[in-house]
């Protein structure tokens, strides 16, 4: 084991890999800080640029974007009351009041430190849990795998949107989109309608860029991009050094909140579909309830910022636990990361840990290195990022559209990929407008081939006799959990409830969301 770790360290400590981690974290931080952009968009746009990288450099680059994006989203939440990502809505509750009190630098530093600590703690949990879980997963047969995938889809559909039915329909549409390709058993072209470009399936990047990036640009038309294309630079920095400095005593006072946030983010993050938003809200509620001064929350309590940011960032590595253990993505970002693995010929899951253990160790070490780099990028770059978020939308959006076209061109078989991307931009626009869950859609699309293969194998093994389930108790348990998810969890509406609890003022009134529209898509 130590030999493998030493070898992984050597692989990691190259100029190429470390350089890409720095680049990924910086890009992620920038994108996270920009209102209207998010890390899923950045991942979709930058996936095609990883083609020529080594698998390790590519994965570390993408993970860097993911980590940087989660931390960077606090910048605009604190300075402008506009969350860079939906999960940062909670940060606005106390972050922006701190800015109004002239403590923006203190809030930004606390958010950064909380993000890094949450990130490191969750990465350690990932390293400790992934291998044992993967060992358990290696023994799973197609029947158990089918049941687990069915449970995962149902669970994600039940918790990731406002309507279970819409969630499950989104997932099924994703599964359906994965079917035009060569049939895995006979090798016959299926639903390709004569397009040879579809023999390998609909290109991932055409789907991801169209539905995530370009559709988001189209949605912004509704928000009236005319007239809002410059963000006002009204940051209220304090002249007093005491207000802008974060003392060691203040930092230590926020440690319990950071730890609570980290625990919440890790636990919620590892469950597929629940996402960073819910973890931030739950962490905030927990810290507020445990506080001796709950009346200060919503008025600039540093613990509120610390808890929300620690939870947000802890959920990033935690969400990779099911990816490494059983190859199951639970969020948009992890689904795209899984796509990144696949583009480099790697299949995340138990066999990756068994067959490519050195690479996995190197990725884990790269994740820890990314946490350290995040601290440096955030600390030294904060001044730059606070300026960058004032760049006009009229500059950012056209460049993103251009990058969408180039990205789809690079992977998707030339202009065919670009045309598909335009179609999926329309699809994504209407999915968003009609409140269909994006997470289940993309997870369904990514898992489609695996679901089909395991289902076919299960049917062949069982000879289509459902009684065979009696010999597979694990499958029965997961099928029961799938039914339970659909029946109970969908009725619970977890995120709206957590939001209303977190946003309740001490006087019992609920606070309005800082930017309700930014909470729409998880």
């Amino acid at each position: 084991m130590f030999e493998q770790i030493a070898s992984a360290t050597v692989d990691l400590l190259t100029v190429e890999v470390m350089g890409y981690i720095v680049l990924g974290v910086t890009i992620g931080y920038f994108v996270g800080a920009m209102p209207g952009l998010n890390r899923a968009t950045a991942l979709a746009l930058l996936l095609p640029f990883t083609f020529t990288m080594s698998p390790l450099a590519a994965i570390c680059f993408l993970i860097g974007i993911n980590k940087g994006g989660a931390a960077g989203s606090a910048v605009s939440a604190i300075l402008m009351n506009v969350p860079g990502e939906p999960s940062s809505v909670v940060t606005t509750l106390d972050g922006y009041p701190m800015t109004r009190q002239g403590k923006s630098r203190k809030a930004l530093k606390l958010a950064l430190y909380a993000s890094v600590i949450g990130d490191i703690l969750a990465t350690i949990v990932l390293i400790m849990l992934a291998a044992p879980l993967a060992r358990l997963a290696v023994g799973l047969g197609p029947i158990e795998l089918s049941a687990i995938l069915l449970f995962a889809m149902t669970f994600i559909a039940a918790v990731s949107g406002r309507s279970f039915l819409k969630g499950i329909i989104s997932g099924l549409i994703g599964l359906l989109l994965a079917t035009p390709r060569l049939d895995p058993e006979t090798g016959m072209p299926r639903l390709t309608f004569g397009f040879m470009e579809l023999y390998d399936g609909i290109p991932l990047l055409a789907v991801a860029i169209g539905t995530l990036a370009l559709s988001e640009i189209l949605v912004q038309i509704d928000r009236g991009w005319r007239g809002r294309y410059s963000h006002k630079n009204e940051f209220l920095h304090s002249a007093s050094s005491a207000d802008s400095r974060l003392s060691g005593k203040e930092f230590l006072a926020s440690m319990p909140a950071i730890l609570r946030g980290s625990i919440t983010g890790t636990v919620i993050g590892l469950l597929p579909g629940l996402g960073a938003s819910l973890s931030s809200f739950l962490a905030y509620t927990w810290v507020k309830r445990a506080s001796k001064t709950p009346e200060l929350f919503g008025k600039g309590a540093p613990d509120g910022v610390a808890a929300a940011e620690a939870a947000d960032n802890a959920s990033v590595p935690a969400s990779l636990i099911p990816v490494f253990a059983i190859g199951l993505p639970g969020s948009l970002a992890t689904a795209l990361l899984m796509g990144g693995f696949m583009m480099h010929g790697l299949t995340p899951g138990p066999f990756l840990l068994r067959d490519n253990i050195e690479l996995v160790y190197a990725i884990f070490l790269g994740m820890l290195a990314a946490s350290g780099i995040l601290l440096m990028v955030g600390y030294f770059g904060q001044g730059v990022f606070t300026r960058v978020i004032t760049v006009r939308d009229t500059v950012i959006i056209p460049v993103i559209v251009f990058l969408c076209v180039i990205g789809a061109y690079l992977e998707g078989g030339g202009m065919f990929g670009v045309h598909l991307m335009l179609v999926f931009a329309f699809v994504g626009y209407f999915l968003k407008k009609f409140d269909f869950s994006f997470v289940t859609f993309l997870v369904g699309y990514i898992l489609g081939p695996m679901v089909e293969l395991s289902m076919r194998q299960a049917i062949i093994i069982s000879d289509a006799n459902p009684m065979i389930l009696l010999k597979h108790p694990v499958a029965v348990v997961f099928l029961a959990l799938a039914v339970l998810s659909a029946w109970r969890l969908s009725a619970m509406n977890m995120l709206p409830k957590a939001q209303s609890r977190a946003m309740k003022r001490p006087d019992g009134e609920a606070q309005p969301l800082a930017k309700k529209r930014d909470c729409e898509h998880r």
Binding site: T52, T179, E185, T186, P398, M455
Partner: protein
Amino acid sequence: MRAVDLVCGAVLCALSLALIFIVIPADNPGGRWTGLSPYFFPIVVAGAIAFFSLALSVQAARQTYSAEEKSPPIAWSQLAMLLLAMAVIIAGVIGISRLGVWIGGPLLIAAIMLFMGERSPVFILPTAIIPVLVVHVLVNQFLGSPLP
């Protein structure tokens, strides 16, 4: 639950049934197979979509909703703006495929900037040229991939 769910469910149900009964039978590759048909999985998934879409419609029909929930999520003006924006983007994409990225790229960026209301050439010119230059160098030199 909005009234639009009723329509949405009905449309999705109709589309998935059309897939099962019209599109899939029309897609005949002309081969033979033993065991499960290559179309087994798409039919199962489309059937499930039809079932859940119908359930969505029934659920929406049985619930009462407020006047606000009855209103469609997309106004006609928004739809017009969407179509206009897509027309600009599609024109830009055609420009890239016909004229190449060197000319089509800046045209696409400049057209979107103008559409968004930007009028200052000080912003339009560098924004239209610099990203194209950077992407061209990155893709050609770094990735070694050709661009249109």
